[in-house]
Amino acid sequence: MRVIDAHTHPVMFKRGLRRAEIDRLVRRGRSLGIERMVGLGDVLLHGRHFTAAQIREVNDDSARVQRAYPGYFRFFCFVNPLLGEKAVMGEVERCVDQHGFIGIKLEICNNARDACMKPVMAAARRWSLVVLQHTWSQTILRQRSFHTDPADTATLARRHPDVPIIMAHLTGCGVRGVLEVKDLPNVHVDTSGGPPEDGLIEYAVEQLGAGRILHGSDLPGRDPGVSIQRVLGARLSRAEQQLILHDNAARLLKLA
């Protein structure tokens, strides 16, 4: 079965760019049948407060990985919406023009319902990019001032119905997260986040349809072998599994 991993972080936590580590990671991915990986950058390198220079540093590191493995990694541009319209637009334009990035990645600098998201969505619209929003249920965590709950991603999607959004972390969003975005066709969900809870992928397929779910591992903290087998072990048809593991990402992100 063909596989794309739509949620990876090949550069992490101040370790810098170590070619040997990323080589191992790519070998592991290829051995599992992963044809392409979507890289999202070192988005927790500076916690949740990133300056413009730090954002640029993260994206330049991502670009180095992308250049080192041509055709294997495609990256999203990481932005901090709190830096304002000029900084966001400038960085997205730079990443698209210079690096050929294919999406915008949002982490925990702010909540997705905040007004500062407007220029981010304008940039996505202008350069025809997909927005991947880190999302986690805040029922327990209670960090909603900066951490996006599925209800907030749903609010963002409702405000910008013409922008395709990936709500990251199905496992962290849970049943409530699936239901929040059920009626929002511009929202896809990736399967990453937490241990491989059984039954949740089947539930997401039942509610959203297999065409709105993307396979993602969140490596290196998670193992793509586990995330792939979670899909293959789910009580779904082969066609549904193929959509989740490969076809949806290929279509949405034009990775064919």
Partner: protein
């Protein structure tokens, strides 16, 4: 062939998986190449006293030798001696599961007398560190994982016993391994693309057991952890089967 060291029979009220019969559970596990499993009763997690659930477990697996009963005990209840005696008398019982986080006690509250009589009964302790990721647990259930310091202190009190700790995360397992060496750990809650290499310096394969945490987590997904090239073929056999067989049988 795999031996699942961390498996439950019954329904998890906060999950999406339907309840399986013993034969249904076996078929479910076999689809992922798992031939045997140590099973505990989920009914005992929230019950005021675990023995009724244990008795149902004994009865359910009596004719199914591929499911090894792993009963639950609550050492803080006044009838702990009766619990131990009945579990020790159960067919094929070699260990008992403690669930301090769900039964409302700290490990330091487990009496020395209980530990002594546990050993005298020839039973090994299995410590349940967690059953679900605390970040997405059911909103009204404020159960946190058992702190590593509590487990380390517990292990220091019974240096001649080897406990199996189920549900440790990678960081917790490595931290615990710095403080104690009389424990084994299952892989159900451990995950990393370099898992074997991360664990090996402090927790070599001889101290690791394959575990799925069925029905909460996906059994098939868990098998991928052993398929990783970080484990040699021999190590896969040891972690996947041999260590659990030694512990439970």
């Amino acid at each position: 062939m795999l031996f699942d060291a961390n498996c439950y029979l019954g329904a998890w009220p906060f999950g999406l998986m339907p309840e399986l019969s013993p034969s249904g559970l076996l078929r479910h596990l076999q689809r992922s190449g798992i031939a045997r499993a140590a099973v505990s009763p989920l009914d005992a997690v929230f019950a005021p006293e675990p023995m009724p659930a244990n008795r149902r477990l004994f009865s359910a697996v009596r004719r199914e030798h591929r499911l090894v009963p792993l009963p639950v005990v609550n050492p803080r209840l006044a009838n702990w001696r009766e619990q131990l005696a009945e579990c020790a008398a159960g067919a094929r019982v070699s260990a008992v599961r403690l669930m301090p986080a769900y039964h409302g006690y700290r490990l330091r509250a487990v009496s020395d007398r209980f530990l002594t009589e546990l050993a005298e009964a020839g039973l090994k302790p299995v410590l349940t560190v967690r059953l679900e990721d605390e970040r997405q647990r059911y909103f009204a259930l404020n159960v946190k994982g058992v702190p590593v310091a509590d487990i380390a202190a517990f292990l220091a009190r019974c240096p001649r016993m080897t406990a199996l700790c189920t549900g440790l995360a990678v960081g917790e397992a490595l931290q615990l391994a710095e403080a104690a060496d009389n424990f084994l750990a299952d892989l159900a809650y451990m995950e990393n693309i370099e898992l074997a290499a991360l664990l090996r310096p402090r927790l070599p394969p001889r101290r690791l057991l394959f575990g799925t945490l069925t029905p909460m987590l996906s059994a098939q997904a868990q098998t991928a952890k052993l398929a990783h090239r970080g484990f040699s073929a021999t190590e896969r056999r040891v972690v996947g089967f041999g260590n659990a067989r030694r512990f439970f049988e």
